[in-house]
Structure formats: C-alpha cells, structure tokens
C-alpha cells in the first residue's frame, strides 16, 4: 500500500537519512570519547537537515547546518579540547543498573505515548495564523512571518543572544578571586 503512494526517490532519501539519524543517535549514546559523541551528533544533525529539506524547509536546513554543525558542535569540540577531558573513560554503566533501567522504562513509556500521538489522527481545527506554506521554497514566507507576525520574539532573541554572549564572557573570565583547581583534585579525575 505504501509503495503505491510514495515516490521511490523520496522514500530512499527518507530511509537513508533515518538510518543516519539512528546511527548518530545511538552512537552518541554509546561513544566512549566526547569527541566521537560530538561527531555522531553532527551526523544526526545532518540527517535531520536532510529531512528538513525533504519537508520543504530548506532555509531551516541551512540554518541547522550553520548554527548547529557550524557553531554549536564546534563549540562543544572547542570546550572538550580546551578542558582536555577528551581522553577520559567516562561511559560506564556499571554499578548504575537501577538508574539505567529506570531511565529505560521512562523513555520507553514516553516513546510509547509519543507513538500513539504521532500515528493517531489529530484534528485540532487550528488555522494557519502566520501564513500558508507555498509549494516550493518557503524562505520568503518564513522571512515575512519572522519580520512581521513574530517580530517581537525575533527582537527578543537578539537580546537573548547578547545576554548569552555577555554571560558566557563573564562566566569564562578567570577572576582573580577564583581558586584554581587544586593538585589533589586533578589527580582524582
């Protein structure tokens, strides 16, 4: 039934990107080194970006790559390298089975519920408030929407970014009063 409805190239793209996403996600969970985890994350992000393109959100796909892959994950890598924590063996589930089991149960429950939500028929009756999507590229529609209907939130994000930058600068400044890590602590890690 599905094959008759869905075009084959799209299906191929979908399946490939889902596989990429899955590998990336699972890899992120099981990677031993944070750097590997970050690379798996990039992989997932690319998969999601491909799905975005397939859903007609090219702009978001580009922004996803620029912001997430280009800035966020690079920042992660930067911090990992800066702190020099990259060679640590950290992923040990041992002695933590109860917690892992609990987490598994919780996540499984969420998944089950989400599957019901995702596959159920949802008629919310909501109307398009911001603007209808056009058939092809939606960059113009998105831009118009962001700069008119959502102008205030847009401006607020600017403020948010400035605050974040200032906060990060303040946080990562080495203040003279702050004690540096002591020698015995560093040996424990």
């Amino acid at each position: 039934m599905i094959a008759t409805v869905i075009s084959v190239p799209q299906l191929i793209v979908f399946i490939v990107s889902v596989v990429i996403i899955a590998i990336g996600g699972v890899g992120l969970l099981s990677a031993r080194y944070p750097v590997h985890a970050a690379l798996f994350l990039v992989m997932t992000l690319f998969g999601v970006a491909v799905l975005f393109i397939e859903e007609g959100a090219e702009f978001l796909a580009a922004v996803q790559v620029v912001v997430y892959a280009g800035a966020v994950v690079v920042l992660f890598l930067f911090v990992i390298m800066l702190l020099g924590v990259d060679r640590e063996e950290i992923t040990s589930f041992a002695g933590d089975t109860v917690r892992v089991a609990l987490a598994g149960v919780g996540v499984a429950l969420i998944l089950a519920e989400l599957f019901i939500v995702a596959t159920g028929a949802w008629v919310t009756g909501a109307h398009a408030v911001a603007g209808k999507l056009s058939a092809g590229s939606n960059i113009g529609v998105l831009a118009r929407s962001v700069f008119t209907t959502y102008l205030l939130p847009f401006e607020l994000t600017a403020a948010l970014l400035v605050i974040a930058v200032v906060g990060a600068v303040i946080l990562s400044r080495r203040m003279s009063g702050v004690a540096q890590p002591r020698a015995h602590e560093s040996r424990e890690v």
């Binding site: 959100a57 892992v100 929407s145 948010l160 946080l171």
Partner: protein
C-alpha cells in the same frame, strides 16, 4: 506523493527518546548537553512536520527560534561547564552535587 507526516513524527519520537536516554544515563556533562541537543532536534523535526501537515509557516518560525535559543543555551551552558571545571576539575555530573539539600 510525499512521505506521510506521521513517519516523521515517529522518527522525531525516536530521536527524542534517544536524547532523553542519553541525558539520563551519560555522566559526562558535555555529552549530556549533546543529548539535550538531540532532544531539541527531535522537537524541531516535529515542528517542521506539523508546519507541513497544517500548512502553517508558524512551525518553521518556531524552529527558527528554537535554533537561536539552543545556540544561546549552549553558549551559556558551556561557559558554566568551563567555570565549574576550573573550580573542580571534573565534568562528571555525579561529582558535582554541591547543591545537595
């Protein structure tokens, strides 16, 4: 004919689950952070999917904002991590429990 939206939603749900599991089980703060990003991506995917299903650009706008907020969040979060690391030389969450009541 394109792929039905529910497929994307299922993928997003899976991604969310993976992220949640990662947050719950990993001990390295930075990796936990990455798992959070995974969850955010799942949400983004949901938004885009609903934008297509409901034919409303609002979903894409929401993703846009999520991206911005995520960037800000990462910047501040990593700043905090760096600061913590300078104090205690650890990025393992279980070692950072000075907020214990």
């Amino acid at each position: 004919m394109s792929i039905p939206g529910s497929w994307y939603l299922v993928v997003a749900a899976l991604l969310f689950g993976l992220g949640a599991f990662g947050v719950l089980t990993r001990r390295n703060v930075i990796v936990m952070f990455m798992s959070v990003e995974l969850m955010l991506n799942a949400v983004n995917l949901t938004f885009v999917t609903y934008a297509r299903m409901l034919n409303d650009v609002g979903g894409q706008v929401a993703v846009f904002f999520v991206l911005v907020v995520a960037a800000a969040e990462v910047v501040v979060g990593l700043g905090i991590i760096v600061a913590i690391f300078r104090h205690r030389a650890t990025v393992t969450v279980d070692d950072i429990s000075s907020l214990k009541g």
